[in-house]
Symmetry: C2
């Protein structure tokens, strides 16, 4: 299947977290236009059921398809964990989630000492990382743990100090004890808490986030299918949509994206 190489890349997340994936995409594929949708009226996904997250993901994808996207990136670990098969079945374009690239990146880093996975309750309950890791390496030892308070801590901006440190200790002590050598940050909010996570698990554990690996997977897929935008065809554009009012997204999102977000448009997908 040869893709239309002029359409933008569509990216959705439950909120601002997926902007870390968009940031990596922009760095790897500077000629590509993008359309980002943050479902801020229904955030978070990580504490909701797979059924509800799948329903929301299909709505998000439908909206992005209407914007003419040539490829969909599911930049939310929870949605990638539970809704990828439904999205692939429903959409006429390629769909890339963050779980498989994150799992591959973890396997490239581990030295055989076991891989830890942390994420939202929805992601961990789904077992998606476990399956992706074991599919690529049947012998890998995987240990998973849901860390529900990490998302509100990152959203609140409490990324250093006693509260995040003690919270990280409560969640991660078992990883430090049982010895994994690689820890997958299986939620796009968690890189903001890298400092306290690293302090708890120690310098011998490699922290892996899937933003970088996902961007590489998208680049490889578009190259293989002849779908890359050509340099100089037209200056790339970057559009942002949200389902709640845009002010907070624009403000907080800049921290995740690493550059200002000029504007975001509110759309209603709750029909």
């Amino acid at each position: 299947m040869r893709q239309n190489s002029h359409g933008p890349i569509g990216v959705f997340d439950s909120g601002v977290g997926g902007l870390t994936v968009l940031k990596s995409l922009m760095a790897h594929l500077p000629h590509e236009s993008t359309v980002y949708l943050g479902d801020t009226a229904r955030v978070p996904y990580g504490t909701k059921s797979g059924e509800v997250v799948t329903r929301y993901s299909l709505k998000n994808a439908e909206f992005l398809l209407e914007q003419g996207v040539k490829l969909l990136v599911v930049a939310c670990n929870t949605a990638s964990a539970v809704a990828l098969p439904a999205l692939e079945a429903a959409l006429p374009i390629p769909v890339v989630g963050v779980i498989a690239p994150g799992a591959r990146a973890a396997l490239a880093r581990t030295r055989g000492g076991g891989v830890g996975v942390i994420g939202t309750p929805g992601t961990i309950r789904s077992g998606a990382y476990q399956r992706a890791l074991e599919a690529a390496d049947a012998k890998v030892r995987v240990k998973s743990r849901a860390c529900p308070l990490f998302v509100p801590l990152a959203e609140e901006g409490w990324t250093t100090g006693d509260v995040p440190l003690l919270t990280a200790r409560e969640y991660l002590a078992e990883f430090a004890r049982e010895g994994v050598d690689t820890l997958v940050l299986g939620c796009t909010h968690y890189p903001l808490l890298k400092g306290v996570i690293a302090e708890v698990v120690g310098p011998k554990v490699a922290l892996v986030d899937s933003a970088e690996a996902t961007a590489q997977a998208v680049a490889a897929l578009l190259t293989e299918r002849g779908g890359l935008a050509s340099a100089g065809h037209a200056a790339p554009t970057h559009a942002y949509y949200v389902t709640d009012v845009p002010e907070r997204f624009v403000e907080v999102g800049a921290r995740f994206l690493g550059r200002p977000i000029p504007a975001a448009e509110q759309v209603d997908l709750t029909f």
Copy 2:
């Protein structure tokens, strides 16, 4: 207006928190049937905009109206703070929120030393408690603070220990310093954190939650309008609806309601 005294009382909240209000209602009005709706597919409301919370509240009310309720209790502080005028304008039945009863309860407790209010970002940003307190007593001194991490802490069941205590210190130190004598727990989740909150603000500060006061307001309103169910007419029934899958609501909800929830039915209001 004379109410139909046979219909149930409708109660909605963004999730499980409003069950503390339902618990007080059941204690005060043991002959009344109730229908509770927890909007668990869109929880939380406290971090979302007034516009979105109002839209969800109207959907919830519409569903409860279809169940034949004679009166609506908005058992969510955020929805009471931002959506009450829209609900009152749209509905043909009386609507009771938790803010005005909570404010009255606080004024009955304060000894002139100032009233503190804590709640979600949405509730505090709305200024609804401040307005309700000042409307009843123009001279009252009010100090407000949003405590966004209290809801995820209560949901996670982390209600004792270092993390909730240090979090409460961070949020509440200013109340201890500046001396209020009464603190309104302006979110239905916060009573679960009463222990650490009391430890931080000290024994001289009265903690007020609005569940009790709201139940009294409902009883007074129904009595005044002749809408009370008569004892012995029929055994009261209690129905529970949620918008996400019911398992977690049934399990966690029992802690908030103080009795088992036999079953909850899932309904889709996201059309």
